[in-house]
């Protein structure tokens, strides 16, 4: 008679058939041990546990009902003890088995963690874009609003309103690409100063970026299209010292706190006084190298106090308001910051180049 049948039979019947209580429980335990020996995974374990200790239909639940509850009064005590002992033993045995199986799972599926996964690589930001975003971040921190302007611009905004004298070499120096007599591709972002001032009253601070164009044949340092960020501020009591402080702050944030800035007098028709700004060479820390031509300085941008002539064009009172402006070449800054030696590579879409900026 198999163990399942025995557990399903009443104890009294089994005794009548010549079984003894001791032997029955012994048989029960050895059957469990035999089944347990064949268990090697979670699924089998669960099956074994439910088969033996299941609350309703487990084999020990059966012996509780069929053997213990049906035991003659004089045997009740012994059967009760054996039933409890057996249950405790099975539970301990199962706990031990579970531990063994759990640990054997961990040991099971071992991977070569050095193999690569099927990554879809994230895209790269364009270095000019990275430079611009970093700059806008700095200028937003200084309270600058951000705006945009048209690339096909009028002669008036690009030159006249900025105080470029007609028939003056300064216009030629801009190497303009014309669309019509009066319309052209903006040669700098400065026209936006006039456009914004025309429609707003001081105080104002703006940072405006975009593409600008010059009639230059492309080579490693020239491009007929490049990018500028124009920053300007107008208000009462805005001075040359504010211009210096603002650009000094910006350049140190951008290139690092160790650089020094230097302001040299220069000439732009739309600022007076005007300055070129140099920083100590970031490649040799100002000691002198090939890139700074042994001067220890590199020229990074042009700036100045907004010319009263510009204010006149937009109807601001130059005796009340003053302001400053600076034009920053984004491509040049990208070349400097990332040590790129050819401006053309910025516009080729070469993924070998772009991927480096992920």
């Amino acid at each position: 008679m198999a163990i399942d049948e025995k557990t399903a039979a009443k104890l009294t019947d089994l005794l009548a058939a010549g079984e003894s209580v001791e032997t029955l429980y012994q048989e029960l335990r050895s059957s469990f041990e035999a089944e347990k020996a064949a268990v090697s995974n979670q699924e089998q374990f669960k099956h074994l546990r439910d088969r033996w200790l299941g609350r309703k239909n487990g084999l020990l639940a059966s012996t509780n009902d069929n053997w213990l509850k049906a035991a003659p009064r004089e045997l009740k005590r012994d059967v009760g003890r054996l039933q409890n002992e057996t249950k405790a033993r099975l539970e301990a045995s199962l706990a031990e088995l579970k531990e063994k199986i759990d640990s054997s799972i961990d040991a099971g599926e071992k991977l070569d963690v050095t193999l690569p996964g099927p990554a879809r690589e994230i895209g790269a930001r364009h270095p000019v874009r990275m430079v611009l975003e970093e700059m806008l971040y700095i200028f937003r921190g200084l309270g600058y609003s951000v705006a945009e302007g048209p690339e096909i611009e009028s002669f008036y905004y690009n030159f006249e309103a900025l105080g470029f004298p007609k028939d003056h070499p300064a216009v030629d120096e801009m190497d303009t690409i014309f669309v019509t007599d009066q319309m052209l591709l903006r040669t700098h972002t400065s026209p936006i100063q006039v456009r914004i001032m025309e429609s707003r009253k001081p105080p104002l601070r703006y940072a405006v970026a975009g593409k600008v164009y010059r009639h230059d044949a492309p080579d490693s340092t020239h491009s007929p299209m490049f990018h500028q960020l124009e920053i300007f501020a107008v208000g009462e009591n805005v001075t040359f010292r504010d211009l210096k402080g603002t650009l000094d702050h910006f350049l140190k944030k951008f290139f690092g706190p160790d650089i020094k800035t230097r302001f040299r007098p220069s000439f732009f028709p739309f600022t007076e006084p005007s300055a070129e700004v140099d920083i100590t060479c970031i490649f040799c820390a100002g000691r002198g190298c090939r890139i700074c031509k042994q001067t220890g300085f590199i020229e990074v941008l042009g700036c100045g106090m907004i010319d009263p002539e510009v204010f006149r064009h937009v109807g601001y009172d130059p005796d009340r308001y003053s302001g400053f402006a600076a034009g920053i070449g984004l491509d040049r800054f990208a070349l400097l910051k990332y040590d790129i030696d050819d401006i053309q590579i910025l516009f080729q879409g070469d993924v070998r180049f772009l991927r480096q900026f992920r």
């Binding site: 690569p116 996964g117 099927p118 879809r120 690589e121 994230i122 895209g123 930001r125 364009h126 874009r129 309270g143 609003s145 951000v146 705006a147 945009e148 048209p150 690339e151 028939d167 003056h168 070499p169 690409i177 014309f178 669309v179 019509t180 105080p203 104002l204 601070r205 593409k211 009639h215 007929p224 299209m225 501020a233 208000g235 009591n237 805005v238 001075t239 040359f240 010292r241 504010d242 210096k244 402080g245 603002t246 302001f263 040299r264 007098p265 220069s266 000439f267 007076e272 006084p273 300055a275 106090m305 003053s322 910025l346 080729q348 879409g349 070469d350 993924v351 070998r352 772009l354 991927r355």
Partner: protein, 677 residues
């Protein structure tokens, strides 16, 4: 421009080392590009800004040095040993157009001996990059380099009636200039003429006929002042850029004409044994009145943020040649005639600032002003850039120029034409971003980069009645593997669906109620059947698909290439989707699969439309599509999965059955779809 240190020393003492001098000059706005040693001479190479023609010579630079280092300036000698008769008896000057030539001075020198210049003159000219010609011509160049005033020497005997007439050229008048070119003139051009004909293009170049030659005996030295605008227009018209025009168009010194003529005459009598006739001819119909500028005492501090001591202001301006007299509330500043760039108070302030030293003005940060505003579309663009990055698209920037041919092949409207393009291949502003994207893909494929994803966010350009428009456009280009190959998987190449899925990610950023992909009215460069236009709330917002294989082959693109053009201006009009939370459902969703036989030609979009919208129908997905073997002719098999969910209550079997039955009914009635048995 080259300046010799030894020449400068004639006008100002320079004890400094050349590098220190170069630094100080640079910091005062006279940028020294290089310090060169050549033939034992120290040469400073300057880059002088166009507003400072007065500094483009040795005397002018010496004046700068004198003001920076607080030293006296020595002017060159202009003593002339004169002889009778009066110059006016041998030559005459008449200015017919004083608006273009307000002053014309001249010296007459007789009995010159034309020969090579003395070595010291030749040497200085050559070190400054000027070719030596003969002693007469060399002197005009020498004085140009020395004091900055352009002059010219005529062979007096070749001037008809010994007469100089400064006048506008006659239409069609021809002048052969020194370079041997015949110039056909018009009344826009000012000439120097004798009684008969034009003999020089005023302020630009002399004429060949009256040039100084070996046989020249008598000379007329011209020292004039011409209107800068007129010189510039003339030199630009003829494409002639000379030392003279360079200075005249930037503005020469009107008060220096006699000074320069005398300087030449004085030297000429020494180097060529000529006799200088008495008196300097000087036609000056409109004498020049010096400009006065008021410099208010508080103006410097107001603009620069620091008060420069009054004595420094006065010292600097005097050293630069300005007259300065105290005035109520400031100074009356008299501007020297050579400073055409100084007209206003602010110009005077700059002079003070640059010589006083920009370093003197300590940097400070201005107080916070007004609240900052973001750019109108910067948030939107950042969102799109983030999506592109997440999808693995590398951002590129392409030139805004394309060729006429490209514009016609790919553009949707006539391109804006450039009048003076940089290259014939870049002669219009782009009306399409496709050609640059194709070029970039091609560039990468040619460099063995076979899997490429590029995105460009830029502008297109169009001309409209109202002006020029610059609509923003987002362009995607993809080729090669959409999902990478690994040690265990083969990788998945881009196909229309992979690419469409990428584009769809961008569209989810926008508030779109009705979105459809339609395979019609596509630009011809897309592969028919593998491209679509995207219609969002009734407007076409994008095209996407595979590039026409024939076109791809002609461009030597050896693998399928996918392009999408997204018209951002139209999407921006729809607005960005603003995420809004909806409570999560507490009950599970239920799904039901339908195995359908769909008539061929019925698009999935139509199936979706036939099922319609139902608030509790949360998804309708194609799980499997196939045709062939067990599928009847004229139909394809579609395994469609519908999913329903509501927030609180579970669906009963009855409800789901009713919904399912409705779907089957709709598909059958509207599209003739049958249930697979």
């Amino acid at each position: 421009m080259r300046i010799l240190l030894s020449w400068l020393q004639e006008f100002v003492d320079i004890p400094e080392y050349p590098d220190g001098l170069a630094h100080e000059l640079t910091m005062a706005g006279m940028a020294v590009d290089a310090v060169i040693e050549e033939q034992g001479e120290t040469i400073l190479e300057f880059d002088i800004t166009s507003n400072r023609p007065d500094a483009m010579n040795h005397l002018g630079m010496a004046r700068e040095i004198a003001s920076i280092f607080q030293r006296p300036l020595r002017l060159p000698k202009t003593d002339v040993l004169e002889a009778e008769p009066a110059a006016s008896s041998k030559a005459s000057i008449e200015i017919a157009d004083p608006d273009l030539c307000p002053r014309y001075s001249g010296r007459v020198v007789l009995g010159v001996e034309v020969k090579p210049s003395p070595d010291w003159i030749r040497r200085r000219l050559e070190l400054c990059g000027v070719r030596s010609i003969n002693n007469i011509a060399d002197l005009t160049n020498y004085v140009l380099l020395e004091v900055g005033h352009p002059t010219h020497a005529f062979d007096l005997d070749l001037l008809d009636e010994s007469k100089i007439i400064v006048r506008r050229a006659k239409a069609g008048e021809v002048l052969r200039t020194l370079d041997g070119v015949d110039r056909t003139l018009s009344s826009d051009h000012l000439v120097i003429a004798d009684a008969m004909r034009a003999v020089a293009l005023a302020g630009v170049m002399g004429g060949l006929e009256c040039e100084i030659s070996d046989s020249t005996q008598n000379v007329l030295i011209e020292s004039a002042w011409f209107d800068p605008g007129s010189i510039r227009r003339t030199s630009r018209y003829f494409g002639m850029h000379t030392e003279a025009s360079h200075r005249f168009e930037r503005g020469a010194d009107r008060e220096a004409t006699v000074f320069a003529a005398d300087r030449i005459a004085g030297m000429l009598s020494q180097v060529s044994a000529g006799t200088v006739l008495r008196g300097c001819l000087d036609a000056h119909p409109q004498p020049h009145t010096p400009r006065n500028v008021l410099l208010r005492s508080g103006a410097i501090e107001r603009l620069l943020g620091l008060a420069v001591p009054a004595e420094e202001v006065e010292r600097i301006l005097r050293a630069l040649g300005f007259g300065i007299a105290p005035n109520t509330g400031g100074w009356e500043v008299k501007v020297p005639s050579y400073r055409l760039d100084v007209n206003r108070e602010v110009d005077v302030i700059e002079e003070v600032a640059r010589v006083y030293g920009y370093d003197q003005f300590a940097p400070k940060l201005p107080a916070l002003g007004v609240p900052a505003e973001p750019a109108p579309l910067s948030e939107e663009e950042t969102r799109l850039r983030n999506i592109a990055r997440a999808l693995g698209y590398n951002e590129t920037i392409a030139y805004s120029f394309i060729s006429t041919e490209e514009a016609e092949e790919f553009g949707a409207w006539p391109a804006v034409r450039l009048r003076n393009p940089v290259s014939e291949l870049w002669d219009v502003m782009r009306n399409t971003a496709v050609p640059p994207m194709l070029k970039a893909l091609e560039w990468n494929l040619n460099r063995n980069e076979s899997s490429v994803r590029l995105v460009e966010i830029g502008r297109l350009y169009r001309s409209e009645d109202s002006g020029f428009q610059e609509p923003p456009v987002l362009t995607l280009g993809a080729t090669g593997l959409a999902r990478p190959r690994t040690f265990s998987e083969p990788g998945k190449p881009y196909d229309f669906y992979e690419f469409k899925a990428d584009l769809a990610q961008f569209l989810t950023a926008f508030e779109i109620h009705q979105l459809s992909f339609e395979a019609r009215e596509l630009p011809p460069y897309y592969a028919a059947g593998r491209a679509a236009r995207v219609v969002a709330d009734g407007s076409v917002v994008a095209y996407l698909g595979e590039l026409d294989p024939k076109l791809a082959a002609s461009r030597k693109l050896r693998q399928p290439v996918f392009i999408a053009e997204v018209q951002l201006d139209r999407l921006y009009k729809l607005g960005f989707r603003r995420p809004q939370h909806r409570a999560l459902s507490r009950v599970p969703a239920v799904s039901r699969d339908f195995s359908l036989l769909v008539p061929e030609g019925v698009a999935f979009e139509e199936v979706r439309a036939a099922v319609g919208r139902h608030p509790e129908l949360t998804a309708l997905e194609p799980v499997e599509i196939f045709s062939g073997a067990q599928v009847p002719e004229g139909r394809y098999s579609l395994l469609l999965r519908a999913t329903w969910q509501r927030s609180a209550e579970s669906f009963t079997d009855d409800e789901v059955n009713r919904h399912a039955e409705q779907i089957i009914q709709d598909l059958r009635k509207k599209l003739g779809v049958e249930l697979r048995s």
